[in-house]
Point group: C2
Amino acid sequence: MMSDIANHPLTRPAGLGDALAGRLAAAIRAGEFRPGARLPTEKQLVERYNVSRAIVREAIARLKVDGFVETRQGAGAFVAARPGLANFRIGSGGGAVPAADLPHIFELRAVIEAGMAELAARRRSDADLAAIRAAFAAMEQAIAARTDGAGADDRFHAAIAAAAHNPYLAQFAAYLAQHFSASRAVTWMPSAVDAGSALAAQEEHRQLLDAIAAGDAGAAAQAARNHIARAAARHAAARED
Amino acid sequence: MMSDIANHPLTRPAGLGDALAGRLAAAIRAGEFRPGARLPTEKQLVERYNVSRAIVREAIARLKVDGFVETRQGAGAFVAARPGLANFRIGSGGGAVPAADLPHIFELRAVIEAGMAELAARRRSDADLAAIRAAFAAMEQAIAARTDGAGADDRFHAAIAAAAHNPYLAQFAAYLAQHFSASRAVTWMPSAVDAGSALAAQEEHRQLLDAIAAGDAGAAAQAARNHIARAAARHAAARED
DNA sequence: CGGGCGAATTTGTCAGGCAAGCTGACAAGT
DNA sequence: ACTTGTCAGCTTGCCTGACAAATTCGCCCG
């Protein structure tokens, strides 16, 4: 017996496989298929959704990658013990993130950036420091020249990540940073630069840079936390319009 | 004690699609295909790897999910601007994590757990605190009764994650926790319990619990960092044999 | 030289089929 | 009564061939 979420017909024009995968994933998250339970067979899914077996297999394959199901040849497809925990992703697959969740995501980023800043303060080599300073200088020039400094902003944070000398931490920070392009755009858009928001951000960057250069882990963590918190505030203020 | 070699489950050869996806992902990571470049056509991949087009499509679909490539109907498959950043995953797809990377992963976990402990100390409700205490008590009983307390250990950390009131942070912590089953097994295996490692861990848990109960964010963060660091040390010591 | 049109190319989807592996039932043997 | 061997049905893994839809590119025409 299949129920509400899983039963609606698929909307044609958008990737059929992804659509079906999303539908099944939603059904699993909603508890329609419990962990350990067997999914309908491919043949049944073909009949239920009126798609070819290739599409069904594509959807199941995607659910496998995301850790929602496991398949055993000859036996069937089974809901994983802990569905959806094979990887970490924000916004469950391309969908936009609810605006209400933004504070939570900023908070997650603050935790990571603070931890990285702390480690960077302790471990940065001279070359690391030079890279951080270079990105900082590029932002200075961008502010002076009224050009876009978002790229330099990226490089600044990436250089700090590299200085922490932990590839997993750096990769996770890079993943998170993707979801904050809007935040940087808010800081670096021409009207915001004139209003001094870029200058304010740069002052926060300076405190972070100084703490890392001085090797003061506690101050670096605090500066990073402060920077992310203020970036969140700038972002929220810009959304008010 | 049973024989070791007879006990290992048979490693089933991975599916052709996963194998091909891994090959292509490695090629992209190695810079063989640059961001923006076009991958070989499906037909070419069919000929080169001697598999059917269905397998090639399965591999490409997986690379799409992981954010390595994007496809455009009629045009081809192109390497994404920032390959592999559509999600965060440790150990690129089911493969075991190199032992040399374990310290880095413990460090990532320490950063997250410290941040969560800090927030939990500030935000925990009475119900949150009761859940944490319940898991703590369950571990006490497990130690006294010489039974496995790994499950209660899980619940303890999960309860702290819930008390931080940030679903993204909690989900990421849950994702990371998956990769530390070996670490908990080391703490809770009977010989280790007798040797006092479970008792040591429990003392670390007590400090964490007390700090959260007292609302002392700094102490909670420090206790969490200390707990993870010592867990890493116990894990490393157990690997020496 | 520039622009529009059609053919070739490429991905998306469908259909059918064989091979490999699982499950449950039943018969045979101990 | 319990174990072992066999088998038929079902399910997933993989292959082949085909058509539809979208893109690309060269050719012809103006």
